[in-house]
């Protein structure tokens, strides 16, 4: 491989017959699809039959890195996973951090493709040319974190993608973590691994070298980025609080509950409690960072009673979960005790491997609502009383992950559960698009670019990434700030007049450009969390790409490559049966959300104008029209 930044090979592993094949990365493919999500999509189009059963041996797990992985570019940590999802039959693009991308490339592989099904439980180890399928019967049955610990004892230094119990039981709402921190595989990657009898993928430290085309230029550019990051006004506090620093004030007036029909308020004033929780969090937190990340948003938190838990990033709303009567409520206890309980919930759900944000929380609320309404009874739940307490929530986690009793009905997600419950329940499921919940109700926040992404794309990671950075995560930012963001994201100057007016912007059209920008992060192997991506522009990415690869690329060249990948990904999902008809917003968005003090209705980004279904249809039409442009 003459192009810098690549290890130079794709590794193919067939679990059915143990076949191993190492194929050189094609240079033309690299130039066209760059890497990560780009090459993953290209490989998925070629390798995965669109009508294949997601849990059959013919499905493939494709893990991809990009040209930034293996270098010291800050935030170059991401591994992209692509597979056919057992949850919705689509092809999610789900990325995660940790050190996996660097370790995989250290053995000489940019991408890994796993097909087939092992006759018995195995885990895959990769160390240079030593590719081994090892018996996993002694770790089968362990949770994801214990599996990672046990395998690390045997193969350290390494990076590990294990599965927990939910993956073993092929729960479609399963997820997993890289190195006990970086969540990966929303939409059931862990279930696909389980269906293949694959307990873990282990990238050991190899001996291979990653060369870059212009080392001095790269060094200079990275120094400039680091200077900005070190000067970031929140960095000092983030070193103590991690991602919670960003969400420390973020406790909404209540939690959207009862099938998205009601805002259940906190019974207590949360302002003092928030401050206490933040201090507790900082006191017990040890920093964990993905490869090359200077912001350390992963948490290891020591529990007051001993032991510690890991999480990809504890947010304030979840730290305060036991105060909310909506889900996971505890009537009594000090702030420290309650935070301890919240962390134990995180720990359990992470270890067992369920997708909390986009599947489990909404699903738990849904079945509890059915129970409250008498639509299901103890006869349906195997004797389990479904209330909104903490203990019930933990029971639901356990039985769902293990498919035990009533959990068997829940393990494949809300649409499957509703179908199996019957009695017309399917018709009342709300706030679900393409089988997953919209995690941030737009009636509370205003309709943001990320909501459009969640309507359009199966798999939530890229849905969120389609936002236009910080201003579009919260409504009402001044238009000049949005314009600056658009320029940073590579919107051509000639298009600005088309996308912006003096006091507003075209959300559907702008979303396409946000996708182009953040899609590139997924192709390059770069983290797109706000506190990393804010230091990059399309111009910066193009400069780094040229310095690493030696390919002279402009910002526009990269934008075109990203557009190509988005369209190919759309084609991939179209081949699985998805059309624009699947983009329809949930009916509940157009009904008022009842809160204790007010009703919340769906409004535009500036919270000035109430939106109708016709408005959303307009955004979608404009999005697709803009996407069709070069």
């Amino acid at each position: 491989m003459q192009i810098g930044g690549y290890a130079g090979n794709i590794l193919y592993v067939n679990l059915t017959d143990g076949g191993i094949r190492k194929q050189p990365l094609d240079e033309e493919m690299v130039k066209e699809w760059i890497g990560g999500a780009g090459i993953n999509t290209k490989l998925a189009l070629e390798l995965i039959p669109p009508d294949v059963d997601a849990l059959s041996p013919r499905n493939a797990i494709i893990l991809g890195t990009g040209p930034f992985n293996g270098t010291f570019i800050p935030g170059a940590s991401q591994t992209m996973s692509t597979y056919k999802s057992p949850l919705n039959g689509a092809f999610p693009q789900s990325n995660g951090g940790g050190n996996f991308s660097h370790f995989l490339k250290s053995s000489g592989y940019d991408h890994l493709v796993v097909t087939g099904r092992s006759p018995w439980p195995v885990y895959l180890t990769i160390e240079d040319d030593n590719i081994s399928l090892r018996h996993a019967s002694d770790v089968w049955g362990l949770d994801g974190f214990d599996t990672a610990d046990e395998i690390r004892l045997r193969h350290s230094p390494c990076s590990i993608i294990p599965i927990g119990i939910a993956g073993e039981r092929q729960a479609a709402i399963s997820v997993t973590h890289i190195d006990k921190g970086g969540t990966i595989g929303s939409g059931g990657l862990a279930a696909v691994m389980g269906s293949k009898n694959l307990k873990a993928i282990v990238a050991c430290m190899g001996s291979k070298t990653i060369e870059v085309a212009e080392p001095e230029r790269l060094k200079k550019m990275v120094d400039e980025i680091l200077q900005k990051e070190n000067g970031y006004h929140l960095r000092g506090e983030m070193m103590k609080g991690g991602a919670m620093t960003m969400t420390r004030d973020w406790v909404p007036p209540g939690i959207v509950s009862r099938n998205s029909s009601e805002l259940i308020p906190y019974p207590t004033d949360m302002s003092e409690i928030k401050a206490q929780l933040y201090e507790l969090h900082k006191a017990g937190r040890k920093k964990i960072a993905c490869a090359t990340c200077p912001m350390s948003d992963k948490d290891r938190i020591d529990l007051p009673g001993g032991g510690s838990i890991y999480d990809t990033a504890v947010f304030m709303e979840m730290a305060a979960m036991t105060y909310s009567p909506a889900l996971g409520y505890t009537a009594e206890g000090s702030t420290a005790d309650r935070y301890d309980l919240a962390l134990q919930y995180y720990d359990l759900i992470n270890r067992l491997g369920l997708d909390r944000v986009y599947s489990f929380q909404g699903l738990a609320d849904f079945v509890i609502t059915l129970y409250e309404q008498g639509i299901i009874t103890r006869a349906d739940t195997g004797g389990l009383e479904l209330d909104r307490s903490y203990n019930t929530l933990l029971k639901l986690v356990r039985i769902t992950a293990s498919r035990e009793g009533f959990g068997e009905l829940l393990a494949d997600g809300v649409l499957s559960a509703a179908h199996r419950i019957g009695n017309g329940v399917e018709e009342i499921v709300q706030n679900v698009v393409k089988g997953q919940f919209i995690a941030f109700d737009p009636r509370m926040s205003g309709f943001l670019p990320m909501h459009l992404g969640m309507l359009v794309h199966p798999g939530r990671t890229l849905g969120v990434s389609a936002a236009m950075g910080a201003p579009s995560y919260s409504p009402g930012w001044p238009i000049n700030e949005m314009m600056k963001q658009a320029e940073r994201c590579g919107v051509p100057a000639a298009d600005m007049g088309r996308l912006f007016t003096r006091d507003s912007f075209n959300l559907g059209r702008l979303a396409r450009h946000g996708e182009d920008f953040f899609g590139l992060f997924n192709m390059l192997g770069q983290c797109h969390r706000l506190y990393i991506s804010r230091f990059y522009s399309m111009e910066t990415l193009a400069g780094l790409y040229s310095a690493v690869t030696g390919i002279k690329a402009t910002a526009d060249d990269l934008k075109q490559a990203s557009n190509r990948t988005w369209n190919a990904w759309r084609d991939l999902n179209a081949s699985a049966g998805y059309t624009s008809k699947d983009d329809q917003p949930p009916d509940i968005w157009f009904k008022p959300l009842k809160g204790p003090a007010q009703e919340y209705r769906l409004h535009d980004y500036f919270l000035k104008r109430e939106l109708t279904k016709g408005d959303i249809a307009g955004y979608l039409d404009e999005y697709y029209d803009e996407r069709a442009r070069n």
Binding site: F103, I210, K287
Partner: protein, 91 residues
């Protein structure tokens, strides 16, 4: 436990309790050698310790010449150049 490497008058003190495991030091070290990235050739090695619930272990190979590049780029203050190096700079 802190690890210290001393070569000539330069020294690096390592405090694993501050390490977040980002392996920036390893990438900087190997890059400094020949402008290439190779984790296995890095003269500083960072690994997770399972027994201590993922505390990190920092070690230096025998051929580490205490060039201090790892300390210069550690984002978390886990690696620091100690007094001898400062004296050399100012002296």
């Amino acid at each position: 436990m802190a690890t210290k490497v001393i070569k000539d008058r330069r020294s690096i003190a390592a405090d694993p309790s501050k390490c977040a495991g980002c392996i920036t030091c390893m990438l900087r070290c190997s890059f400094r050698i020949d402008n290439k990235f190779n984790l296995s050739l890095s003269r500083i090695q960072v690994d997770r310790q399972v027994a201590r619930d993922n505390e990190f272990e920092i070690s230096f190979t025998a051929d580490c010449d205490a060039c201090l590049i790892c300390a210069r780029y550690c984002p978390y203050g886990a690696l620091t150049a100690t007094k001898e190096e400062n004296e050399e700079k100012t002296g």
